[in-house]
Symmetry: none
Subunit: 210 residues, 4 copies
DNA sequence: TATGAATGAGACTTCATTCAT
DNA sequence: GATGAATGAAGTCTCATTCAT
């Protein structure tokens, strides 16, 4: 798939360039990153990048789509095993926070550059990102159907709210040097906020409050 | 404080430049905006901008700090009248969504550029943004103290989660042309999600569910 | 006219750039000339060129149009004083050959680059060059009307033939170092070839053979 | 002579590359043509071109010399049968205009690129082109000797004039879409212009005016 | 204070050429 | 011989910033 480049080694070289781009973009941001830096980090010549990507924009977009695609596939797999909407929601949240650790650079790039690209790159529709949101939306829909979630829940809004919360907390995690909490712990807190809300009003038995 | 630069009409000119910057930045993004475009939009010469701002970065930062400062002042005033933490939370959320309409350009800039700046501008601490978060944190603290909110609530996490949700929904509102819901309506939905959570588990009486 | 640039000195700077472009283009050809070389030759910064010309192509085109415009104006003036079509033809030819000496660089550029541009620059119509041809066509038309020239003369072809002959001889003059003949002398010879033809067949009285 | 490079099919491959170069150069011009485009058009790999030609310049020069060589040989053959200088001149002119149809691409390349190369390629002497001019010069010399042409005719100038006229008319033919005249007809007109001149002054017997 | 022409460093990208296979 | 992926030098153009007026 996408096998331009030399015999066999091509895909590997392409991957090396993508990895280098993630590293450099996450360190300096898209606009402050120079193509030559990425080339150096990937151990290829400047021109080689243009054998695999149309231009610098395409490098960023490919990065989004391909890496987000992997993320979507993974989270879908995990959720397939989830026992009920609440369990799935928890898995989704935990997975997202876990990505912060496993794929720190990628997440940083997505967090800070996706918005820009989203808004300013002509004709770019972040397909894979929307799929990611759809996974979340699917969980909420299922929860509404089986009565786990409120029947009047607006799924479109809720899924954005949950993603936004996860994203902002991820960002804080990345920005703030002194990490006050572990991602895993944050995951639990976020889960509770969304599952049960902020209020203390006694819930007979916190079914959700595992 | 706003009186750097020239005498007399200076403050007005400075304000014109800031407004022009908001307009251009929100349309094209910080990196795609040219100082000369901002100058033209403000009706001043390119060089004039440098009489009021140190450089292009400073223009963005000043914009953040000064405009966010006004936002913080305003929301504090409104909240002062709030009757209890839940009411305050609602006011905060409604005000934020309302800003989307009243200050669309500013919000767009904050949403898409604050992250970049935050991460890549050396030595920039987004003081006013942190104050905005503190307003939210104050509400949560008060709610914990008076028993409205869960005693084990992690305020640091919760305030980021709420802000993230608001921010993401604002972003969707800005990005997606076909606005599916009004800001006011979205505000109510977000409020409910955070106040009561997603779950259907019957709450005797939705104290929060206004 | 075309007075971008600084107060007053703008036109002069523009002219300096055009002169430098003529010099460099004539020495190295359009494609082998670097914008930075032209800038250096003009005594301006690289970027300054882009204040006066849209891009490198525009520099070449402007050069063609503006300088050819001056040439057209000049030859028209001279011809206005010509006494009859033959005299005018002679003036035109002499003027062209004379330009080789007075405007060597310009003529070299026109000779070697006009063809390229003509053919490969999208949307470029060499207006002033066509006017130059029209001046020649006008002489031929007048000569047909007053019986000086053959009534069956195809003006379109003849004017191209005359221009082609002049142009090729100019080119040879420019290319060949050892200049075997003076332009003035060549002018007379070309004039005779076109006026009387190559043949020896006795003409009663060489009206043309001044 | 044409057998540099590979064995067997080598000459054919070399010819394919030359033909492809003519096609691409005539469409886009030398500087706008990419070696890879020529390779693709020839159905060979980029690197293969370098087995047959030293570099891109050499490709152009080889093209000139080899193809012009064929043209020179052909016109010499045709002229050998000519009956007298005037007939030979006519054959030369007709052949040149005819080439426009038979070898359109080649002629276009020669017209627009020869001048450039001539002037800017170090050490390139267009041998075959000079031979072509010599064929024309030979005709004129013969005509002077046998009294057909004026005894004071400057052959160097006249041959350049004739070639220039042919070349410019060819160029116009190629550039202008709406071809107003057929090459054959233009040949006759050019012949008359040079044989008899432009003037109407009655020639006893139009020996030349076939 | 205000101007805006001028500057020039620097980035993206192209493409002729090479060479390991 | 043939290939075509890889190279990397080099050029055009942009634009933040300056400074003489």
């Amino acid at each position: 798939m996408a096998m331009r480049g030399p015999r066999g080694g091509g895909a590997a070289k392409r991957e090396r360039i993508l990895r280098a781009a993630i590293k450099i973009f996450s360190q300096k941001g898209f606009f402050n990153s120079k193509v030559s830096e990425i080339a150096r980090a990937a151990g290829v010549a400047d021109g080689t990048i243009y054998l695999y990507f149309k231009n610098k924009d395409d490098l960023l977009i490919s990065l989004f789509e391909e890496k987000m695609g992997e993320v979507v596939t993974e989270v879908r797999d995990k959720i397939a095993n989830g026992d009920g909407p609440l369990a799935c929601l928890r898995i989704f949240i935990e997975n997202h926070m876990d990505l912060l650790v496993r794929e720190a650079g990628l997440m940083e790039v997505i967090q800070v550059e996706l918005r820009q690209s989203n808004k300013f790159m002509k004709e770019y529709v972040p397909v894979k990102f929307l799929e990611y949101l759809d996974v979340l939306g699917g969980i909420l829909d299922a929860g509404k159907k089986d009565g786990t979630f409120r029947p009047d829940l607006n799924v479109k809004t809720a899924r954005r709210a949950i993603f936004g919360a996860l994203d902002e907390i991820s960002l804080a995690h990345v920005l703030v040097r002194k990490r006050k909490y572990e991602p895993a712990k944050a995951a639990t807190e976020i889960y509770r906020i969304f599952a049960d809300g902020l209020c203390a009003a006694a819930r007979e038995k916190g079914g959700a409050t595992t």
